[in-house]
């Protein structure tokens, strides 16, 4: 099977959207075809597969594919095909893993990335919404050409960002009545982080004020890191807004519960305070440079018949895990939440030593088979811990009461001492 044939089939699959699951046998067939294609066309991965003792032609279950640890993207350009055909190279931020080279994802075909990210984003952030002003606490794709996250939001902006101008805040121009999705909504979005100077405070404030003045719901998107910075700025300046109802936030990176970062619950409380967006309209995105598909929490799903967003953002479309997620809302803003991927991604949760599947509910390493990664490596073993729950998986941060083991040095301290830490 050639790249073009597989690409065509995958594009057709992605165009069906994310709501209908792919039958196991269909996924298995496609996954094995993609895997065999990659073994043929990707010498680095082929070597890894051979070393792990797998015979590509003999495998019959996608679960038995050797999953390549994400750190391997720091070793070699893992292109399935000719490196000359690569359209873009995305790079990891390079803080984790020490002073090692940054991980590089050579992307053969941006069309596959686009086709995977848009329907999934829309289903989880903009269900039933055609366009909305999008404010990103991220550098723009032009400023950060090797950031896959900036690229993604750039594509989202092109596809769903409302265009036009509102004029200055407080302008007497009447606010559009239609709200989210209305065709006359005027643009107020953009990217508000500069790669070297950080958050563009004035521009971001003005955009928020415009949304409030015109009562236009917006989508805020950013990294947990940037949001934490903004919360500090907002607190110090006693500056907060109450964004119009229907506004929502996409947050990424807050799931890790890193030592120096804010607990996710506290982050969400802070976001609610700073932007007036309730926690049930804050969606966590889980993604990585090495994967062209993303995972989202299904908290903002379309509310049944009406096409409106339900007051509490509850979706009722039969997602088996959804009720569980909702029931636990009382326990905290994020208790019981989980992430799910699109139908063209399946995840395994594996034992950290044997790499065999762990029982449902037991924490293990997350390994993803992402068919959108056709041009590189689809089976990727992450460094993230998660547990399987109905409907998807929950990311597991450092557990309560668990102290880091070893009085030998922690990597974070080490990097910190060298001035390279987060």
């Amino acid at each position: 099977v050639t790249f073009l044939e597989l690409r065509k089939e995958l594009l057709a699959l992605f165009s069906l959207g994310v709501e209908d699951p792919l039958p196991d046998s269909d996924f298995n067939r496609l996954a094995l075809e993609v895997f065999r294609f990659q073994c043929l066309e990707n010498p680095g991965y082929r070597g890894f597969v051979a070393r792990r003792g797998a015979d590509p032609d003999a495998l019959s279950r996608w679960q038995d594919i050797p999953f390549l640890p994400a750190r391997a993207f720091k070793s070699a350009p893992l292109v399935s095909g000719s490196p000359l055909e690569v359209e873009r190279v995305f790079r990891t931020s390079g803080t984790t893993g020490g002073r090692e080279a940054r991980g590089e994802h050579y992307v053969r075909d941006l069309a596959l990335y686009r086709a995977s990210l848009l329907p999934n984003f829309q289903a989880h952030l903009l269900p039933g919404v055609e366009s909305v002003p999008i404010l990103c606490l991220l550098p723009s794709p032009e400023d950060a050409p090797d950031s896959s996250l900036s690229f993604m939001l750039g594509e989202v902006m092109d596809a769903f960002g409302a265009v036009g101008t509102w004029g200055p805040p407080g302008n007497a121009t009447p606010a559009p009545e239609e709200g989210v999705g209305g065709s006359s909504v005027q643009e107020g979005g953009g990217f508000y982080v500069h790669p070297t100077t950080g958050i563009e405070v004035q521009g971001f404030k003005e955009a928020l004020q415009r949304a409030v003045a015109h009562q236009v719901p917006v989508l805020l998107a950013g990294t947990a890191f940037a949001f934490v910075q903004w919360l500090e700025l907002a607190r110090n300046g006693a500056w907060w807004v109450r964004l119009p109802e229907g506004s929502r936030i996409m947050e990424t990176g807050g799931y890790k519960g890193r030592v120096r970062a804010l607990a996710r619950e506290d982050l969400y409380r802070g976001l609610t305070e700073a932007f007036g967006v309730p926690a049930y309209r804050i969606v966590s995105e889980y993604g990585m440079t090495e994967l062209l598909s993303q995972f989202y929490e299904p908290v903002l799903t379309l509310d049944g018949q009406t096409g409106d967003l339900g007051e509490d953002g509850v979706g009722g479309h039969g997602d088996p895990g959804w009720d569980q997620g909702r029931r636990h809302h009382g326990a905290g803003p994020v208790a019981g939440r989980f992430h799910r991927g699109p139908p063209w991604v399946r995840s395994r949760i594996v034992d950290p030593l044997t790499l065999g599947e762990v029982p449902d509910g037991t924490p293990g390493l997350l390994a993803h088979m992402d068919l959108a990664n056709l041009g590189s490596v689809s089976g990727v073993l992450t460094e993230d811990l998660g547990r399987r729950v109905p409907g998807g998986f929950q990311l597991v941060g450092r557990s309560q009461g668990a102290e880091p083991r070893g009085c030998s040095l922690a990597m974070e301290d080490f990097l910190h001492a060298l001035g390279e830490g987060p």
């Binding site: 680095g44 390549l68 640890p69 391997a72 720091k74 030593l353 073993l381 070893g406 030998s408 001492a417």
Partner: protein, 468 residues
């Protein structure tokens, strides 16, 4: 598994309404610990202070040494119930194999015996009786040394026994002890405190061992504020936290996270290559590499009979063999996460002709990452070590510059007549211990722990000048 009782309070101390909580973790280890609250901690500290004033300060150091020695001997005696209790819980609760737990108990308890402690006292004080009263000092004067009334020990919860050693040091200088062991080091302090109560009930009035979750929190804060001296083990984050709460007049003895390295000269790569690989494998494997004395990186000199890559393969073989005699404990998921990333990356590197990697696959976590021009980086532990070939040991010394704030134990082999100049360079780099690879895991009680005398770091001196 039963819930381990994670507190030992002085006999006379009764807390009204002692509330208990149970802490579980994913590997079914669970601890029952009291919810003392900051008020409870303060009451407990008052009782400990009183015990020190009323008895401990007047007990001869020989009596302390004798009591500790008796407990140590019971811990070494295979027929004794104290040892049996220790070994029942130690492995499972520390996340170590039983064989490892036993090896650790044997070495640790050996260092708490009278003979070893006498060695410690004599190394620290020309006349250890300064701990009991005034003794003749220089110039015709007199000297007295005393530990603070009450020390709070915040354990790191990593290598079992480390917090008992901390407790013993304090008792030798007549200091009452409040010990909060770390999560993985609860068993030995509990057993030790029980043994002490049986061997010397009066002395044991000055000892309390209480676990509570996390290094931070209201209880830790109350303990830090109420102590006369704080001994804290932990990462930079923990130490920072302690410092922010430490009253200005309270001294802190902080044992930060450290890293060990190994240096192998050509002479260790001849006939001794297999033996040096075996010694290195034990240094890596002991404590499943959680010790501050555990090596993360081994520098191996080129030009010996066995090349560094070949030697790395020997090391891998030795680590594999150790899985039989000294098996690894269950792999903590966070370490496994990092380990798998390292293995995958290193396999790709090897495929591209850079370096080599040997590992235990799905059976065992041990991993040897042979990496020419490899950087120094902390290992993900669980018996994972990087082998870096160097043209000369001097190249390793240059590379170690980057580790200056963290360098601690350096295990060496095959340096021949270069050992003095190498030792001098390592001293300048801040290493506090240079030792044969064989003994790397086991510093003697009198080692200047991270560069300080373990007892002298605790005492204050009173000088009486002649003619009063």
């Amino acid at each position: 598994m039963s819930h381990l009782r994670a507190w030992h309070l002085p006999r006379g101390f009764v807390l009204a309404d002692l509330e208990l909580a149970t802490l579980h973790d994913s590997s079914q280890r669970s601890l029952k610990h009291p919810m003392l609250g900051d008020e409870g901690i303060r009451e407990l500290m008052t009782a400990l202070r009183r015990a020190r004033e009323e008895s401990l300060v007047g007990l001869p150091v020989a009596r302390v040494l004798g009591a500790v020695d008796r407990v140590a001997r019971r811990l070494l005696d295979s027929g004794d119930s104290l040892r049996r209790t220790a070994l029942t819980d130690l492995g499972p609760h520390a996340g170590l194999s039983n064989a490892m737990a036993e090896a650790i108990l044997d070495r640790m308890a050996h260092d708490w015996t009278g003979e070893r402690l006498k060695g410690l006292l004599e190394s620290e004080f020309p006349d250890p009786l300064v701990l009991d009263g005034f003794r003749p000092g220089p110039g015709g004067g007199m000297l007295r040394a005393l530990g603070p009334p009450l020390t709070f020990h915040l354990g790191a919860g990593t290598v079992p026994g480390v917090s008992v050693t901390s407790l013993v040091r304090a008792l030798l200088v007549k200091s009452s002890v409040l010990l909060k062991p770390g999560r993985d080091d609860v068993v030995l302090p509990m057993v030790f405190a029980r043994g002490l109560e049986e061997e010397d009930p009066v002395l044991s009035e000055s000892v309390a061992v209480v676990y509570w979750p996390g290094a931070g929190g209201a209880q830790s804060e109350a303990a830090i504020r109420g102590a006369d001296l704080v001994v804290a083990y932990g990462g930079d984050e923990t130490i920072r936290w302690v410092l922010e709460r430490l009253p200005p007049a309270t001294p802190l003895r902080a044992y930060r996270h450290r890293m060990g390295v190994g240096l192998l000269g050509r002479a260790a790569l001849g006939k001794e290559a297999r033996a040096s690989a075996a010694a290195a494998s034990r240094a890596v494997a002991m404590f499943d590499q959680r010790g501050c004395v555990s090596p993360h990186v081994l520098f191996v000199e080129e030009g010996g009979e066995t090349g560094p890559r070949e030697w790395a393969a020997l090391l891998a073989g030795a680590l594999k063999d150790l899985e039989a005699s000294l098996p690894a404990g269950p792999l903590p998921p966070e370490q496994g996460a990092a380990l798998q990333q390292l293995r995958g990356w290193a396999e790709l590197e090897e495929g591209a002709g850079r370096g080599a990697v040997y590992h235990g696959g799905p059976e065992a976590a041990w991993t040897v990452d042979f990496r020419p021009q490899g950087r120094l980086e902390p290992s993900c532990l669980a018996r994972t070590v990087r082998v870096i070939p160097v043209g000369d040991v001097a190249d390793a010394l240059a590379a170690l510059q980057g580790w200056k704030p963290y360098l601690q134990s350096v295990g060496v082999a095959g340096l021949e007549d270069r050992h003095e100049e190498v030792a001098e360079s390592l001293a300048l780099l801040g290493a506090s211990r240079i030792t044969p690879l064989e003994t790397m895991p086991w510093p003697p009680p009198w080692w200047h722990h991270d560069g300080e005398g373990p007892l002298r770091a605790l005492v204050r001196w009173t000088d009486v000048e002649p003619g009063i």
